[in-house]
């Protein structure tokens, strides 16, 4: 054995240790970075929990009519989500499949509410659907008003949440392999049945998370709401009004309620998406060698 040979393993081992160390170091750095992000993201939540006074929460939530904003918010968001699901889903599908002329233009149009500050959306809605505008007059024939009404609240929430749902849904439809839809059609399914049997189930996890995102946006909508739907109070307005009149301590219980109401749906959707993700890529790659159990082999 030459001296070089004798040294080499040692050097190799040292190198291995060094790379392992570097890996550990970069791993630690990654962990630290992740922890920092988590910290920053959860900071407000921590502050909320730290400043909550259980007694204040109990008092605030047991006061007569205290839960009315919660009911209003949940109802309005549910209606807004229903509208988005009914109108946004076909739009998202058509966009994803390029069935619309000038798809880019549609995408941009959907993005506009996302790019504008919600306050500005609210102000523009005043011009669009205020009582003396043509739209407003049309609405009044239907005994609807888009000013300080439940309808106005729903409208504002739809505008704030629409981009999140439509773009999310478009992405999840686009992720559905078009070949699968073609196979279903060749197997005899007319388009509507292809959509129901293949497209929708495959896009469902993505649609659910888009829906969850939209839910969170809708129930937390404030900028456009404060302009066209000061009343009836949903949770964000209730928080704002309480903050203005009674200070931070009085408003925090409602923030907690908002969090508790807004969070479960996104969480459930996320967990569902995470559970179904491995199945989405069935065609993508070979699974680890599964014993070929053909009957001709035996």
């Amino acid at each position: 054995m030459t001296p070089a040979d004798a040294v080499a393993p040692g050097r190799g081992a040292a190198f291995a240790v060094a790379t392992a160390g570097a890996r550990r170091l970069s791993g630690a750095a990654g962990l630290a970075g992740a922890a920092l992000v988590l910290l920053v993201l959860l900071g407000p939540l921590g502050a909320l929990l730290a400043h909550l006074d259980p007694g204040a929460v109990r008092r605030a939530l047991t006061a007569p009519g205290a839960l009315q904003p919660l009911v209003t918010s949940v109802e309005a968001s549910a209606v807004a989500l229903g509208v988005l699901a009914a109108a946004g889903t076909p739009l998202a599908w058509a966009m994803a499949r390029g069935r619309l002329p000038a798809t880019r233009a549609w995408e941009t149009a959907v993005l506009v509410p996302l790019l504008l500050p919600p306050l500005v959306i609210g102000l523009l809605l005043v011009f669009l659907v205020g009582p003396t505008t043509p739209v407003g007059e049309g609405l009044s024939h239907l005994h609807l008003s888009a000013s300080n009404t439940f309808f106005a609240l729903v409208l504002a929430e739809v505008y704030e949440a629409a981009p999140y749902y439509v773009l999310g849904a478009e992405a999840s439809f686009a992720a559905v392999d078009h070949e699968l839809e073609q196979h279903a059609a060749l197997l005899g399914d007319p388009p509507a049945r292809v959509f129901r049997r293949v497209t929708l189930p495959l896009a469902a996890p993505g649609l659910a998370s888009a829906m969850a995102m939209a839910w969170a946006r809708a129930i937390g909508a404030f900028g456009a709401v404060i302009v066209i739907a000061y009343h009836p109070y949903g949770l964000p307005m209730q928080i704002w009004v309480t903050l203005e009149s009674g200070g931070l301590a009085a408003a925090l219980p409602y923030a907690l309620v908002l969090l508790v109401v807004a969070l479960p749906l996104p969480l459930v959707a996320y967990l569902w998406t995470a559970r179904t993700r491995p199945q989405a890529g069935a065609d993508a790659g070979e699974p680890p060698a599964v014993a070929l159990a053909g009957r001709w082999r035996r």
Partner: protein, 436 residues
Amino acid sequence: MAAVTGQVPAVAGTAGASPRPVLHADVTVERRDLTVTADLTVPGGDLLALVGPSGAGKSTVLAAVAGLVALRRGAVRLGDEVLATGAAGRRHAGRGVALHHRGVGLLAQRPGLFPHLDAAANIGYALPGGARHPRVRELAEQLGVADVLAARPDRLSGGQRQRVALARVLAAEPRILLLDEPFTGLDAALHLGVGAVVAGEVRRRRVPTVLVTHGLADAQRWADRVVVVDRGRCLQVGDPAALVREPATARVAALVGYRAFVPTEAVVAAGGAAARVPRGAATLGIHPACLVVGDGAGMPAPAEGGAVGHPGRARAVTAWLQGTVTALRAVGAGTEADVVLPGGAVVPVALGPAATAPMPGQPCAVTVVGAPWFDAAGCLLPVGPPGVAAGLAEPPGVAAGLAEPPGVAAGLAEPPGVAAGPPDSSGLAAGPGDRP
């Protein structure tokens, strides 16, 4: 035309089936890089194979027949029914029967199983009752996937997915069957079994079927006719055996397994009179299955390789070449030699068990039996009087005049039954290299 070869197990029930209409696809499709044109006629119950290199446009032809791409020109007809017509200048394939009314069964290269359904539900997708339809289990058992019926596609192996997808297509009882590389990922045993199931279905239900494959052996085994496709065009259509025996051009020859083209003098027998073509103006097509390597003993080795046209043959000759063995290796029970031919091409040659193995590095005599000749333009040259056809393998007596080296007859010995068959149905398909 629809002769069922001996390799496909006889299937009962052919008698009662009603005659199926003929699929006629005269299609021109614009692909990004290529214009694909094909004119195919497939009678019900027939299996037509498209053979060619990757990117030749085989799958595009299937897509055009299935209705997945727009026709630039032409039409797809099933009997009297027009499924699609050309829509020149139109972006969308707007004209034609909707996909779900076409009754096309397409097994694509990617199986395209529905990932959210288990194997049984995939197979039963087009059946009333879905996974519970008795046909699901029946097909799964025939194709060897009965024990994975409850599994989702992501739990299946590539071969299992392929067979589940095939079962799904067959279960739908299509009016036209299009199979794109249905045998990839299957080992030899499965390959045969799946092929037999497909062939059985095709014959029993009299479905016009188009099979895309890059393996000539599959085409020869299962197909009634073979179309050689290259760069978007159909180069030659024919009986599988004849196609290999008499490739119309050198390009076709290359696509059907000829491994080397050796420039040499040609002896052309035209009207019984032999004429010499100047050296270099013709090439000899070399198929590995037609090569016999000897040790040179007893061979009238020409000084620098040569060939002699056989006046008794239409378009094939027996030729002698001087080669050099570069490597030997065991293949199965026999031996395979890499032989460098004049011109530099290296061809692997199976040595018969009786052959005396030459040593690597040594020159050897190479006899090419039944090789086609091509002129400078790559077109097949006639050798004998037109109209006189013969099988590739010569009975020993035929070659006697050419002083065959010992071992030639042994290496190419045909099963008597095949050699005795009609010229159309014998040939290379039964050659030693292709026998499973």
